[in-house]
């Protein structure tokens, strides 16, 4: 497949799918769904191909493609993936493919739904494969706008409020990032003598310490909205809850990862000194994410809110991995993004399944649901076990790497607080997680049979597609982690080298 534009095809496949769906009459629902499934299947197969054939012995950016766009400003449509973005491309492909099947029962204006969904995912793919910061930003906006419509039209619980909140938060965040990107562009132009948005070229520029502090701060806030970093997080549980199933899957599974990815690619990679300065702040806030997120999840009444806050908690681990800034922890951060994406997509697919049939998500209304829905119960339990970091599932490996990495940091914050105390608190998070996950599983699925829910049917046929694929991925990378970690290693290595070369300065605390 030499010369085949593989990354371009990954991005274009959903867009072409969307264009075809526009031409299909609304009443042919089945044709629309099959088209959507096929379009995402193409992306999935190509992503898998790229993931498998990526040459780890060479490393760096591969599958390169360049199209000159606006030469005067140095904006090019240029694609390429490395060990950091490749797993996230694969993640996106898996989540959207399973997401289409999780939306198989979409009846209300399904044509428009799938069009928006496919455009959204094209934007997400675009972010991960862009080597050009301008396009990186542009693709991000492409992903956000359909989200507004998808939640506003097809959502539930306070959907207008949630859609507005989510969009405004994300746009405010991206505004910070945009200022950072423009400042970066201008600074680099002054140094290089010509303007460019190419990330690899930008990373060769010697930014002075003051600028790094300033620019990293903007990136931290901008992408911090997305991750979401406490206290910029409240859009995400509301958004999760309001969004329709497939959008929740994409939203929690992939969209939040844009934040972590942006923070690594446009933050730590370009401004390692700035990152060293701000890392203690991220570290402190991420512990709030982890512990506080888990505590809030414990007392939620709506099933989706539990998962929403659990995402806040789990993304805290990603931030801890980034803030610890060493090989193990950054490896873990990327692995955690992948693992959390798969796990949370599984959760939302299952909750969507239950909600669609029972028309409620209130935990107290359920009980003994495993009698009627044994497969859903099994899937949910596996998702829960992944969530609480059970060995044998992907999340354990990611969290263990983050913990091991953060454990090595010898910083002292505020003059007395050893960084390891933060690690211990983060590790304590897994105890709290175990408590709330097992409580929810018990309250919803275990206990005597409740005849009220006898009309519910278990997941079957098409509904099993997301469950089987997502559980399979969790197990595969849990039992054979090097399949994933070896690729991530290749991506993190140059990043670690850059961090090591950066001047050591004191942190903010």
């Amino acid at each position: 497949m030499d010369g085949f534009p593989i990354l371009l095809s990954i991005v274009l496949a959903p867009i072409i799918g969307a264009l075809i769906i526009i031409l299909i009459p609304e009443k042919d629902e089945m044709v629309i769904k099959i088209t959507a499934a096929l379009a995402t299947f193409v992306s999935l197969v190509l992503s898998l191909y790229a993931f498998i054939t990526y040459d780890k012995s060479v490393g760096g950016l591969q599958f390169l493609q360049d199209f000159i766009w606006v030469e005067r400003f140095g904006i090019n449509l240029s694609f390429g993936v490395d060990g950091i973005s490749l797993p996230l491309v694969l993640l996106t492909a898996i989540v959207i493919f399973t997401g289409v099947f999780a939306s198989w029962d979409m009846k209300n204006r399904s044509k428009e739904f799938f069009v928006f969904l496919l455009v959204l995912v094209a934007g997400v793919f675009g972010v991960f494969v862009s080597r050009d910061l301008f396009w990186f930003y542009l693709f991000f906006e492409v992903a956000v706008i359909p989200m507004y419509v998808l939640i506003g039209v097809w959502g539930s619980t306070r959907k207008e409020y949630a859609a507005m909140k989510l969009t405004i938060y994300l746009l405010v965040g991206s505004a910070f990032a945009l200022i950072g990107i423009i400042a970066l562009y201008l600074y680099a132009k002054g140094q290089l003598g010509y303007g460019t948005f190419d990330i690899a070229t930008l990373s060769t520029v010697n930014f002075d310490i003051a600028f790094q502090k300033f620019a990293f701060f903007l990136m931290m806030i901008g992408f911090g909205f997305l991750v979401p970093m406490w206290p910029l997080h409240t859009w995400s549980p509301d958004g999760h809850v309001a969004a329709p199933t497939a959008v929740s899957m994409l939203h929690a599974g992939v969209l939040m990862k844009l934040g972590g990815y942006g923070l690594i690619r446009a933050g730590v990679f370009l401004f390692p000194i700035g990152a060293k300065f701000w890392a203690p702040l991220i570290a402190v806030l991420c512990i709030v994410n982890v512990v506080y997120g888990a505590m809030v999840a414990m007392v939620q009444k709506d099933l989706k809110f539990v998962i929403g806050y659990s995402s806040v908690s789990h993304m805290g681990y990603v931030l801890l991995g980034i803030a610890s800034m060493n090989y193990l922890s950054l490896d873990g951060a990327v692995a955690q993004m992948f693992a959390h994406g798969i796990m949370t997509a599984l959760f939302f697919a299952l909750v969507g399944n239950v909600y669609h049939k029972a028309h409620t998500r209130e935990i107290a209304a359920f009980g003994g649901l495993a009698h009627q829905m044994p497969r859903v119960a099994a899937g949910f339990l596996i998702g829960g076990l992944a969530s609480l970091g059970l060995p044998g599932l992907n999340n354990f490996v990611a969290e263990a790497l983050i913990f091991l990495g953060s454990w090595r940091v010898e910083k002292i914050l505020f003059g007395f607080l050893h960084f390891r105390v933060l690690s211990i608190l983060a590790i304590f998070g897994v105890v709290v997680t175990a408590i709330y996950v097992l409580r929810v599983v018990q309250k919803v699925f275990f206990g005597p049979r409740n005849p009220k829910w006898d009309h519910l049917t278990d997941a079957k046929g098409v509904e099993m597609v997301p469950i089987v694929i997502l559980v399979g991925v969790l197990l595969l990378f849990g039992i054979f982690p090097s399949l994933l970690i070896d690729t991530i290693n290749v991506g993190i290595e140059p990043l670690v080298a850059k961090i090591a070369a950066a001047v050591e300065i004191g942190g903010i605390f």
């Binding site: 409240t234 414990m298 007392v299 354990f396 790497l401 211990i424 590790i427 206990g447």
Partner: protein, 630 residues
């Protein structure tokens, strides 16, 4: 055979997968799949055991087989590795043989249960987890299987998940163990930080050379938190009695060969760490000794046959932990081995009784000796072995612990520790004999209950009882002070300490055990002293013991009144403060817009007025220099 040792944990997981994906609807095929896989593991385990003892593989020079599992260049290398030495090979044999017998027993016990196939799948998963834990060559891998043991116990304790009590118990077991794992994980990370490896062999070289003993003590105690939970030691023992909610074969498996044994095994496996931190060792011994007495006192007054056995397990594990804390992994592991056989026997016997009379309250049983001969005989053998009556298995292993206790003073250089731990040990021995024979006199020899139609259980259930009874009698002979080249010559730390016969302890412990039995007979057999009157006389103590010192209630209170309230506070803060500020910001902007809106009146005269005013102001502004005002 050693090159196939990795198959020992792998075969049961294959059985698990086959049952879950293929044979779930065919009950007998599922059971056979699990049993055949387990038999395969057992045969390999026996082969490994024989080879280890015939080729002089010692704990200092074990055999390792490794494959790369997870690597981060220059930072981390975790291997999926197998470690074969006398310690692991003995444990592999114990686990596989008992799991095998329990599976056979389960065919009869679980007959007709709708979850029959799943039960065998879970048993296989449990076996894999435990065998993996035993065989792995590094802390990280051990920790992974350690957690999987937690998962398996969660699934099996909650096997009757439609009962709230069962799902509560399974959740409690998992969470309590999670607390333990938290400590274990921290300790393990410290080890990696200090020594850069998880490998047991590499650590056994590196740890003794490490100078900072205070740090080692902290690390050792953190690792020990894991066994506290897993081996049900005070104060993380609360899950164990509730774990009786699982089907009885599961209780047998948890209490004999898997799960609780894992904690003691880890102490033995990682002994170099504890040995290097004497303070930690002493704390381990104290917690073990305390748990042994604590649980035995609770066991004195329980009415539920399985609960009596549960507290007996906790007490016996305390014994083993104490032995290891006093520096003898030989005594601890020896008792673990013999205990595994007679405790499995007792639980399966209890299961046979419950199967027959459909109650677990010993005071609702009685006269079973006439109706269930095999069960009664084997149960009696198990109880005598547990009580430590010569020459049954429990006698030899308990004696070795008592001898270790007697010598405790020398290890720590504090002379009074020896008599202290010996007294604790003898006290436990007395109480053990008492509560076991209380059970026997009430349930098996008491007056028959009217209307109770008890029958002997089917052969698939009695056959394992007989086999285990044989072990309960003879297993001790591998390690008596009169055995040459026995247990102590193989399973030891540093140098083997071959036991010397200590006739004083042998005679004294036998007297104590008989005293316990006699006392039980006086109260419950001959009824010379009324048990009811005693209970009334000492009602405060009785209530305290019966309610397990109210520790569960204290934890529940803490969870409900402290933990959940904090969580509620966080929720309130998130919705009211964090979100309030964000929403307030939005509302503020909207409010501002709403005010500004009134400027846009649409009235042309107003606009003209504003324009005119603006023009005047600008004109004046421009005119200032001309007019020379300033």
């Amino acid at each position: 055979m050693i090159q196939f040792a990795w198959l020992i944990p792998v075969l049961p997981i294959i059985a698990f997968a086959v049952i879950v994906f293929l044979t779930r609807r065919m009950q007998m095929v599922s059971a056979l799949t699990a049993i055949v896989a387990m038999a395969g593991s057992l045969i390999i385990a026996i082969g490994v055991l024989v080879q280890v003892f015939s080729t002089n593989i010692t704990i200092a020079e074990p055999v390792e087989l490794v494959v790369r599992w997870l690597e981060v260049p220059g930072s981390l290398l975790i291997e999926a590795g197998v470690l074969i030495d006398p310690l692991s090979s003995v444990m592999l044999f114990v686990v596989t043989s008992i799991a095998f017998l329990i599976m056979i027993y389960s065919i009869g016990y679980m007959k007709g249960d709708p979850g029959f196939s799943v039960f065998f799948a879970y048993l296989s998963l449990f076996s894999t987890s435990m065998l993996g834990l035993v065989i792995s060559n590094n802390y990280f891998l051990t920790f992974m299987f350690w957690e999987l043991v937690g998962l398996s116990s969660y699934l099996l304790i909650g096997f009757y998940w439609n009962k709230d009590s069962a799902s509560d118990a399974s959740k409690k077991a998992f969470i309590t163990n999670r607390v333990g794992d938290f400590g274990f994980m921290l300790g393990m990370f410290f080890l990696f930080l200090l020594f850069g490896t998880f490998n047991f062999q590499e650590l056994s070289v590196a740890i003794p050379a490490f100078a900072n003993k205070t740090l080692l003590t902290i690390v050792a105690l953190l690792v020990f938190v894991g066994p506290i939970a897993k081996s049900a030691q005070f104060p993380l023992h609360v899950w164990l009695p509730d774990a009786m909610e699982g089907p009885t074969p599961v209780s047998a498996l948890i209490h004999a060969a898997t799960m609780v044994a894992a904690g003691v095994y880890l102490l033995a496996r990682g002994f170099v760490l504890f040995e290097s931190a004497k303070t930690a060792l002493l704390i381990i011994a104290i917690i073990g000794g305390f748990s042994a007495v604590f649980a035995a006192t609770i066991g004195l007054v329980q009415r539920d046959i399985k609960r009596i056995l549960a507290f007996s397990t906790m007490s016996q594990l305390g014994y083993m932990v104490m032995a290891i804390g006093l520096g003898s992994i030989t005594a601890g592991m020896f008792h673990l081995t013999t205990h595994a056989f007679f405790k499995a026997l007792l639980f399966l016997g209890a299961g046979s009784v419950i199967h027959a009379v459909h109650t677990q309250d010993i005071f609702e049983m009685g006269g079973l000796a006439k109706k269930m001969k095999t069960t009664t005989w084997t149960f009696l053998i198990g109880s005598l072995s547990l009580a430590g009556i010569f020459p049954l298995a429990g006698f030899w292993s308990k004696d070795e612990i008592l001898v270790t206790a007697l010598n405790a003073g020398e290890i720590f250089g504090v002379p009074f520790l020896g008599p202290l731990f010996l007294t604790l040990g003898l006290l436990v021995a007395f109480m053990t004999a008492f509560y076991m024979f209380r059970l026997i006199f009430v349930a098996f020899f008491g007056s028959e209950q009217a209307g109770q139609e008890a029958h002997e259980s089917p052969i698939s259930m009695t056959f394992p009882l007989v086999i285990l009874a044989v072990f309960a009698i003879f297993a001790g002979f591998i390690g008596t002070p009169f055995t040459d080249n026995g247990f102590a010559a193989w399973v030891y730390y540093g140098h083997p300490h071959l036991p010397e016969p200590n006739y004083f302890i042998m005679i004294f412990s036998t007297i104590v055990a008989f005293a316990g039995i006699l006392f039980a007979w006086i109260i419950y057999g001959k009824k010379a002293i009324s048990a009811e009157k005693l209970a009334v006389r000492f009602s405060a103590i009785h209530t305290l013991l019966y309610n397990k010192y109210y520790i569960d209630e204290a934890y529940q209170w803490f969870f409900d009144k402290v933990f959940l309230r904090i969580a509620d506070g966080c929720r309130w803060f998130d919705r009211t403060i964090v979100d309030g500020i964000a929403d307030g910001f939005g509302d503020g902007l909207r409010e501002m817009g709403a005010r500004l809106r009134f400027i846009q009146t649409g009235n042309l005269q107003n606009y003209a007025l504003v324009i005119f005013a603006a023009v005047v102001i600008i004109a004046l502004w421009l005119a200032v220099p001309v007019l020379g005002g300033i």
